[in-house]
């Protein structure tokens, strides 16, 4: 019985693993003895010195091990990497435990870990996201050159139903909330010493519009353009992108306390009139009119608004179902994976962990909170002028920020908390879509001024 037990132990996978690794280690240790080491490298002083003592095999092992060690993550460890890896793990934890926007937090969290694995930077290994020629660098080009944002806007257009906005156009004014966030963050960044183009790019975090923030920062804060005083603008794409996407993902954490604080029980119970039926003709006319009108005002936002309305035309035309399905399913999935991973990986600690990045985060958080509050207060002000049957539930004002569709979902959940039969999702989509349009127009205007 005992012998059988022992036999089992020796055959267990762990034991086999030990045997295999043991053999590999022995081979590694005795390799210089079995296979003679070639002559000493004349350029290496250590090798020359030790070869004089006649201990070349041991030196070979030592050099090999030293070289191996110098390439490991342990040798290149920097405390910032650990901080960022913990942040990445926290993102993944939040996505798994509380399901806060897992489609964004999982790729970003994993990206943060991938981007912060320490490695030897001077060895031209071409693995870091900021090293030209690396795979991650190629993928990051979509962020740095502003390629992904228009693709995301295309998918948003193909997935969004503008019916609620068309049936109740006055809800469009709740999109002004996002403007408050943008311009408060813009002025705040100027106060903190950022230059005009950098401040404009930072401003976009205020409305939690990730794609627009990336697009604007790739144009204005890309570390290439020259300022009027001859200085080069800072490259803030990484911090801005990660801040904007973090706030997008953390909408369910940031917004509810502000919503509860600024609304009374009575206001939360307001039942909005069901939206009227919107005809197909109206649904097709809206993106066409919207495209013409908004791009004539801000042509610089054409890549974003053009794609947004193009996506919506694909959806609403009814004759391009295949294209609309491709855009709203596989394409958005691919772009989300790429943008999430690369934005996360762009937080390489030695480049990302600067006081400025922290400031951008703080500024973004404050302005996003103000934008949320602004939306709720705008709805309250509008209620003063509306008939009792047309009153707006102020909770949908918080959806005026551009985090689509998360802020609309938050409005719905907060509405259901107050009254389990009061569904606000459809109504909240109107300010949410308006917020996207507003922030893209604002981005176009800022680009027009500053490019």
């Amino acid at each position: 019985m005992k012998s059988r037990k022992l036999g089992n132990q020796s055959g267990s996978p762990i034991n086999k693993l030990f045997v295999v690794f043991g053999i590999i280690l022995l081979l590694f240790v005795f390799k210089p003895l079995v296979f003679p080491v070639p002559g000493p490298d004349l350029n290496s002083t250590t090798t020359i010195l030790t070869s004089e003592t006649g201990n070349s095999s041991v030196t070979g092992i030592q050099n090999g091990l030293e070289k191996f060690w110098s390439f490991t993550g342990f040798a290149n460890f920097y405390w910032g990497n650990l901080v960022m890896i913990v942040v990445g793990l926290l993102f993944i934890f939040l996505a798994l435990k509380y399901e806060y926007n897992p489609l964004l937090l999982i790729p970003i969290g994993t990206g943060i870990i991938v981007g912060n694995i320490p490695f030897l930077h001077d060895a031209n290994l071409q693995i870091g996201i900021y090293e030209p020629g690396s795979v991650l660098n190629y993928l990051y080009l979509g962020v740095a050159k502003g390629i992904y944002p228009p693709l995301i806007f295309l998918a948003i257009g193909a997935m969004t139903d503008f019916s609620s906005l068309i049936s109740n156009p006055k809800l469009m004014f709740l999109g002004i909330a996002s403007q408050l966030g943008i311009f408060i963050a813009f002025l705040g960044a100027l106060v903190l010493g950022f230059h005009l183009p950098e401040a404009a790019a930072i401003g976009m975090i205020g409305c939690a519009d990730g794609p627009t923030a990336i697009f604007l920062s790739s144009r204005l804060a890309n570390g290439i353009h020259l300022l009027p005083n001859g200085d080069v603008v800072k490259n803030l794409i990484g911090p801005i992108a990660i801040a904007a996407y973090t706030f997008m993902a953390l909408v369910p954490v940031i917004q509810p306390p502000i919503m509860r604080l600024l609304t009374t029980k009575k206001e939360k119970l307001i039942r909005m009139k069901p939206p009227r039926q919107v005809s197909k003709r109206e649904k097709i006319l809206f993106p066409v009119i919207g495209l013409l009108f908004t791009t004539f005002i801000a042509p610089a936002a054409l890549p974003l608004l053009g794609m947004l309305f193009f996506g919506n035309i694909l959806k609403e035309s009814g004759v391009t179902k295949r294209l609309a399905t491709t855009v709203s399913n596989p394409l958005i999935d691919i772009v989300t994976i790429l943008i999430g991973l690369t934005v996360g990986a762009s937080t390489q600690a030695d480049i990302f962990l600067t006081p400025q990045s922290v400031l951008i985060f703080v500024l973004g958080a404050i302005s996003f909170m103000i934008a949320t509050a602004g939306g709720i207060i705008s709805a309250k002000i509008m209620n003063l002028f509306l008939k009792p049957e047309n009153k707006i539930n102020p909770l949908i004002g918080a959806a005026g920020v551009s985090a689509i569709p998360d802020s609309a979902k938050v409005s719905q959940l907060e509405g259901l908390r107050a009254d389990s039969s009061n569904h606000l999702l459809l109504h909240a989509m109107a300010p949410n879509v308006a917020g996207i349009i507003c922030s893209a127009v604002a981005a176009g205007i800022l680009l027009g001024f500053l490019m």
């Binding site: 156009p169 002004i176 009227r276 349009i437």
Partner: protein, 126 residues
């Protein structure tokens, strides 16, 4: 006020160009929204206007005692109609025979699925 070497707070940084950008940006976006909301709001009226003209033309041709058709249907009614149609179409099945048949599946010989190897191989030690 200096927070650290790289960061300082200075309100004088909000100079004229910054204020101009802020004010013009805000006003332009608000005007754009207002006009867009106005135009979108009018689409329905324009559409209804044309529908009414069409209906009037039809009325003159057809019997005046005929019931007037509705221009718009509320969202609730529409949802109810759509649900009914959906349920009707998804409930539709082909006629089934109610006769169960067991079809024998014949497999080609392959050494990978041969029974003999399974019999010959030694039982796994546990």
């Amino acid at each position: 006020m200096v927070l650290c070497e790289q960061i300082s707070i200075n309100f004088s940084n909000i100079d004229n160009p910054a204020l101009i950008i802020t004010v013009v940006g805000l006003v332009a976006v608000i005007i754009a929204l207002a006009v867009l909301a106005f135009v979108i709001g009018r689409i329905t009226n324009i559409q209804n206007f044309f529908v009414k003209i069409k209906l009037r033309k039809r009325e003159t041709k057809s019997d005046p005692t005929e019931e007037k058709p509705l221009i718009s249907i509320s969202a609730d009614e529409n949802a109810a109609i759509c649900t009914a149609l959906y349920l009707y179409f998804t409930e539709m099945h082909d006629e089934e025979k109610y006769v169960m048949t067991v079809k024998k599946v014949s497999r080609n010989y392959s050494p990978w699925s041969s029974k003999i190897y399974g019999v010959m191989s030694l039982s796994k030690r546990r």
